[in-house]
Symmetry: C2
């Protein structure tokens, strides 16, 4: 017998794909699936155990549980139209904590201009299984598979803060701004819609599994190499300070840790001006080349980018 823990979550999902029938217009393999031409759907499961670091409130946990799925919609360029939340909570938990979780979910849904349309509650160890629904409204969904050699690589905001927050906690350091990035991630829904509307983005995904994993995934899906310039990557609050105080390479915080909800995308050079004409803030951090894997490029030094962890 092979235990699930030996295969891992990614392995299990890959194994499922070997026998599941498919019928979606897009997916599996992207941030979300597109069905019926225009409907975008995605599910995520988060748990107290794994996604609720010390210092995170139940309301923040609720927000977080919804934000991870809305971020997947954002990566496709979909407009949210609803959220379903199934809660598996311990019977001896204070009911107020359940209200706080659901209130956090509702606030995140409101931020994304939509609302809770269904769900379930059952006894459980502290799990929220969320499903976000969205519509493309005629836009073409942004996939992971469209990056082409010569494209530029960009990110919608600063990175590293969630990792800095976790590391600061481990070392007993204060890092309130990083903590806020970790606990209240902002799904980049408007940015995703604007990027998809531009028609110029060739590939896009969110960074929830870390920049390192995202770069590897983009390379695999698009059959390209990516050269990323770490010195161009904008850093989130507390990142440099926590890196320095703990003697940790900044790259570890920027590339190695998930919990980031900025969008990573590629765009042809001829499309860049169109993107600068939108309201979306972004920073070019690298370029796409021929090949099959991502590299970090610094003056006089090139190294492979590994997968991150979360």
């Amino acid at each position: 017998m092979t235990r699930i823990s030996e295969i891992g979550e990614r392995g299990l999902i890959e194994d499922f794909r070997t026998f599941l029938r498919t019928g979606a217009d897009v997916g599996p393999g992207d941030d979300a699936a597109v069905i019926d031409g225009d409907l975008v759907v995605t599910s995520d499961m988060v748990s107290f155990d794994r996604h609720m670091p010390a210092g995170m409130t139940f309301e923040q946990f609720g927000w977080y549980s919804a934000a991870v799925s809305f971020s997947d919609l954002a990566a496709m360029g979909a407009k949210p139209i609803g959220f379903l939340a199934s809660l598996g909570l311990p019977g001896d938990l204070d009911a107020q904590m359940a209200y706080d979780i659901m209130s956090g979910i509702d606030q995140c849904a409101e931020f994304c201009d939509t609302f809770v349309v269904g769900g379930d509650t059952k006894p459980g160890p502290g799990i929220v299984a969320g499903t976000a629904l969205g519509r493309m409204e005629g836009r073409k969904p942004m996939l992971r598979s469209g990056a082409k050699a010569g494209d530029l690589l960009a990110v919608t905001g600063p990175l590293g803060a969630p990792a800095a927050a976790l590391l600061a906690m481990d070392h007993g350091l204060e890092a309130p701004d990083a903590m806020s990035c970790l606990c209240l991630p902002v799904p980049k829904v408007e940015e995703g819609i604007a990027l998809a509307s531009s028609g110029r983005v060739t590939a896009c995904m969110d960074l929830s599994d870390s920049l390192g994993t995202a770069l590897n995934t983009l390379c695999e899906a698009s059959h390209v190499s990516i050269e990323v310039y770490p010195d161009f990557v904008p850093l989130g609050p507390d990142v440099e300070r926590v890196a320095e105080l703990t003697g940790t390479p900044t790259d570890d915080l920027v590339f190695g840790c998930g919990g980031e909800y900025e969008l990573l995308f590629t765009v042809g050079r001829e499309g860049l001006d169109a993107l600068y004409g939108t309201d979306v803030e972004f920073t070019v951090i690298g370029k796409v080349a021929e090949g099959d894997r991502p590299y970090k490029v610094r003056p006089g030094r090139t190294e492979e980018v590994g997968y991150g962890t979360y």
Copy 2:
């Protein structure tokens, strides 16, 4: 502090509704929500603990986890267009059991003429959180709130087998046919579509929370009374035998236990002929009257119907 266990699952959902913003066209309060005019969505969470009786295989558990949500779509008259499954499974579980669960989900989706379009896997105690998506395709969704005094009450098939299976297990009796009803419930998707297409059904819901609970819910939602004739209710396999061998009133098996997936519906007398003209098999088991609660009516004896349990 008030613990979740003191409030109960139904109480918790009611409490959520006091503060959640709403925006669905239909719901909350029905088997599923309707959003964006035509899209029907519903989530359910099932667990090894609660929904996997001894003798149920992992494949059957997977089927069951999908069937409960497809049944909610059926109750609205929606055609399924996709299913998302988030699995929270123990790391030390044999991976083959995970494949079996997902294969059972896939088979149920295939039975409902659709497929798995997304999901997630995380460590957990043995939970499947499913979301089923459907479309009304121009039909009017069947709600719980439309029953009117004078309507007839009907059910699409025999009841009591799931309860008989559980009771037989408790008493060490064999009841293979009842067990099969318990472990492989058939979501009445085609029946639901045909009933909604007829335009004659005034209210409909599934019986997953038991006939007793469904009758009370219908009365509350439609502001009516219902008189049900227990002697007219068709009985599933093993029900009479298990009731007799265990000295249990048949009514307990028929009214008191969930896990049933037939549809309960009301129809005006003038609409009955139209329904007999469809392929849907059904049995009239009572009638709707003025009032506010359900009654069991037998010759010379009328008694209130209580909520069931599952």
